[in-house]
Every structure is written in structure tokens, then in C-alpha cells.
Symmetry: C2
């Protein structure tokens, strides 16, 4: 199979690319390298079955041309910055909503009908039902990021109905692991490198979040694509546990052998639109036989250890 | 209050404008007159409190400038063509999703924080729960139109959370009444004028749909805006009944005194993405004290009688 991966130089994308190549597939990555890292594709570039096209998802002609000959599209390119959405609302519209439209139009032009899409648990807003299942009550959006992913899901489903596409929509919790490049572990580790004695924490530290290790995430994606048969296949991907921000800080501090003083900015939410409790019901994907191999604690420590070996990443961003 | 009404020259928009002027408000209409009709604003233009700005919602600078001094925005401008969505997918993206983003950005630039939005029952896709309440299970989209309205709702909710806006989102069933310019009654009447003996019906005629009279719709909008106090207020607007397409045809034929032979194109759906059963649970808006004055049958006949008096409309479109 020839896969096309937008955002294939990113955290999740590049891990997916390595796995697809390991499984002997052909892979074309389309990435503008705005947040993706060429270093993440070092291993992929050793393969003759790999091709990198540097381009932007907003450039529809280039996107359409790059997709030629591919059979399955993983659309992972996105502005994944939930926290600063209100500082640049156009970014989510363009890089997520319009970009997804362009990907679908490029697929239509190339007669490609299968798409995998990285959506988010943020789409549930402040869910009334926790752990939140895929068919939770119709949510009200609380972030521009969530709204833009909702738009992307809606477009994909409409293309499935209208143009005979088959869609695989994955609502991720926060993903951790090798090549992690943004999020709380990144922020905390960078702060602690500069000053191991103090750590500024957004909110009251009691926010409850769920996490999933990137290889477990990719295993789940492969399981769904192999087994799910609907026109539109929507799956939550997460672990059956959550932790508080302070739990995660405890594991990080222990691993670093330090005891920083925590300075909370206060409030239930770390920022406008922050969701104080994200925990997804993942029984739908588990029913397909998948289960995660790492706990949240193991994933947090593994991510920290990765960052400790990759100081160039902290300097770059 | 000074209201800004996008799509104010359209069917629902122009009726809303007349009612706002009757209630002594100031009204600025922003419409590109692509489907809106200047004739619908004839009465409004007699008022010194009325202003028409001809402009496109995709022209953000013009939109922002026209909105200056307004206090409440009704965003009704849209591509309301559900049926032909797959013939021009970009139309829903631009005229609905991006246009709504522009309206929100223009509001932000003008420090206007209240918005009323015409969404749709189509947003529920093929609902598992009928009559469908506002908090129905998270729907899967079946049309580009529904997907674009979902995007609009998501954007509005995110602006409410992120920028302190207050949103009133109305999920309409099909609206009927004076100035009705597209939909099944329009299509059927035009066909029967050309040939009273035959009527081509999309699908098997058993599709069940709900309808609401335009003045009842506007009464409901006013009731919600007066009483609903949440940050994001989402209300289904419809009657507590539905009819089959063949029922509607019967009422139309009776009123015209004809007995056309019905030629069904067949199938449960009239077109790709047509929803064979739309029926909304409207107990939330009824709990605010609103109720419709006209039945579906009365609304259908009233709409037909309006079209019979307005042959110019049939010729123009």
C-alpha cells in the first residue's frame, strides 16, 4: 500500500511513518516543516520506499500533485496548539479546517477514498459524561482547536456520505513518547533545566488528564484500520486511566531527583478553554482487541527520558 | 438596539428585519443579493431606522466596516442549498464556515459580543434518537451543508468561551411562509404550473420532514433571546409534528384543485445526504413559553398561496 502522510515529520506522524515503512509499505510524507523536524525522518530517509515532499496543506495544487499515486491518506498535519488559540483564531481555521478541506479535495482529484484523521478528545468540550464515549451527548466547543477538529470530522463524514470515501477518525487524548515536542512535560522539563528549584504550574495542578504512549496509539490506529468496516469509523484512543497534573509533576521530579517548589497560577483551568477533566471511554477500540502496553506513569517517564537525551529539541523550540 | 443582519434580504432574514423594525429597533442589513431579493426589503426601506449594505461575508474589511456601531448580530447569510452540496463542496466551506468566521472576527473588531445564528436540524445527520433533542448523541454528518453549519456552531461556541461572546444557536427544521424561495413547495409548484398532470418526486415520497412557519420561527427566536441566559444557548426550532412528502403534495394538489400523477424517482432518500426522517424535540424552546401558531398543513398552504401571488419569484429563480 502507498500511504500519504500529512504532518509526517511531526511527533506522531514520523513515528507512524517509521512503522509503515517497517511493514514494507510505501510512504510519501507531505510536511511544511513548520513544527515537524527533518531529524525525525532520518531513519525513514534510508528507505527507498520513502519520499518527502516539503509543502503546505494550504497549497492545494502542490498537495494534489504530491498525492498522485497514493492509496491511503493519513491527515495528521495540524495546528496542535490548543492553549494559544485565542491569540490567532485564523490559524485553526486555516491550518486545520481549510487544510482538511484541501486534503479531501486533493484525494477526490486523485480518486483516493480512504482517510485516517487525527482528531482530539478536546472535541467533547467540557463533557457531561466522563469517561466520555464516542456517542456522548452533542458537545459544546470550548476551544478554537476543538472547533476546528470538529469541522474536520464533519467534512470527512460528509465526504464519506457524498463521495463514497471511507473515514477513520481518531479522537486522541494527549500523546506521549519519543519525538514529543510540545505539552506539559516539555514545558516542565525546560523550566526545571533553567531552575530545578521552582516550577510554575498553570491552574491549580488538579486538572485531570489522560495520556497515551505514541506506539500504543499507532497500534490502535492499525487495529482500527484493519478491523473497522463502517463508512465513518470514529474511535477514542486513550488509556483507561487519568492522572492529575501534580501526579505527573511528581513522576518527573522523582526521575530527575529533585524537589521543586510548585507555584500554581491558580484556578481549575490552566488557560481559557483548558478542560479540567479529560478522560475518554475507550471500550470501542478495546473491543477490537487492542490494549495499551504502557501506563500513563511509564509514558510520562519515557517521554522525559527521551527529552533528556535530545537537548537539541529543547533549544530549537 | 441596533441589529446587524447578514442575509437580511433573504427569506427568513427579511421577515426578521421587518419584525425588528416594527419593534422600533435600528437594523443594518448586509447582503450580497446573490439569493436575497431587494423586493423583500421594500417595506424596510421606508423606515429611517433601516440601512442596507450590499456586501459579501467573504469580504472581511467591508463586513467589519458595515458592522460599526451595531450591538447584536444575526448571522443568517448562508448557502442554504443542501441538495447540491456535492456539486460544489467549496461553496459550503466558503459561504458558511469561512463566512461565519469572518462574522465573528468582524464582531470582535467592533466589540460586539452577541450573535444569533441560523443552524439546522440537518446537523443531526441521520439521528438515532427521534424526535431529536439538542443533546442527542454526537452526530455523524451526512451533508456538506450540515458539516458547514456544525463548523459554524463550533466556532461560535469557541468564541463564546474564548472571547466572552454570548451565542444563540437555532437549529431550524425547514421554514415555510411568505418570501419562501427554495425547497420542495417551490419545486412542486413550478413543476405543476408547467404541467398540472404530472409531478416528479425525489425519492419514494415517504420521507418524513418537519416544518415551521416563518413568523412562528421569529417568535421563537425572540423568546429565546429574551429568556435564555447561558453563554451558549442552543435551541431546536420546529413544530411537534412531521409530515410525509406525499402528505404535503396532497395539500398542495387540493389547494390547486388538481390530481397530478406522481412519478417517484425511488429510494428512501431524495438525494445523496437527504435525511429520510427529520423531527426535532422542541421541548426546550417550549419550556420558555413559546408555541407555534400554525400547523404544518397551514404553513404549506400559506406558502403555496404566497407563491401563487408572486409569480415573479418563480421566474427569477
Amino acid at each position: 500500500m502507498h500511504y500519504f502522510v500529512t504532518g509526517g515529520a511531526g511527533f506522531i506522524g514520523s513515528n507512524l511513518v517509521d512503522r509503515l515503512l517497517q511493514a514494507s509499505h510505501h510512504v510519501t510524507v507531505y510536511d511544511n516543516l513548520s513544527t515537524g523536524q527533518i531529524e525525525f525522518l532520518k531513519r525513514a530517509q534510508e528507505s527507498a520506499q520513502f519520499k518527502l515532499v516539503q509543502g503546505d496543506t494550504l497549497d492545494l495544487p502542490a498537495l494534489t500533485s504530491a498525492m498522485h499515486g497514493c492509496e491511503f491518506v493519513f491527515h495528521l498535519a495540524a495546528n496542535a496548539d490548543v492553549r494559544f488559540g485565542t491569540e490567532h483564531p485564523r490559524k485553526d481555521l486555516e491550518q486545520n479546517t481549510i487544510a482538511t478541506f484541501n486534503v479531501l479535495e486533493a484525494m477526490r482529484a486523485n480518486s483516493i477514498r480512504k482517510i485516517g484523521f487525527s482528531s482530539t478528545g478536546s472535541i467533547y468540550g467540557e463533557a457531561a459524561l466522563i469517561p466520555t464515549p464516542e456517542d456522548a451527548p452533542f458537545p459544546v466547543q470550548t476551544s478554537l482547536y476543538g472547533a476546528s477538529k470538529l469541522s474536520g470530522e464533519g467534512l470527512i463524514a460528509a465526504y464519506c456520505e457524498g463521495f463514497g470515501f471511507q473515514g477513520y477518525i481518531f479522537r486522541f487524548v494527549s500523546i506521549l513518547g519519543e519525538r514529543y515536542t510540545h505539552g506539559h512535560i516539555f514545558d516542565f522539563y525546560r523550566q526545571l533545566l533553567a531552575d530545578p528549584h521552582h516550577l510554575r504550574v498553570l491552574g491549580n495542578g488538579q486538572q485531570r488528564k489522560s495520556y497515551l504512549y505514541v506506539q500504543d496509539c499507532i497500534n490502535a490506529i492499525f487495529t482500527v484500520i484493519e478491523h473497522a468496516q463502517e463508512k465513518v469509523n470514529i474511535y477514542n484512543l486513550g488509556t483507561d486511566e487519568y492522572c492529575r497534573v501534580v501526579d505527573s509533576i511528581g513522576w518527573i521530579a522523582d526521575r530527575l531527583g529533585i524537589k521543586p517548589e510548585l507555584q500554581f497560577t491558580g484556578g481549575e483551568r490552566g488557560w481559557i478553554g483548558d478542560n479540567p477533566f479529560i478522560f475518554l471511554n475507550c471500550s470501542k477500540v478495546r473491543a477490537l482487541g487492542w490494549q495499551p502496553k504502557l501506563t500513563i506513569q511509564q509514558s510520562v517517564v519515557k517521554t522525559l527520558e527521551y527529552l533528556m537525551e535530545q537537548n537539541w529539541l529543547l533549544e530549537r523550540r
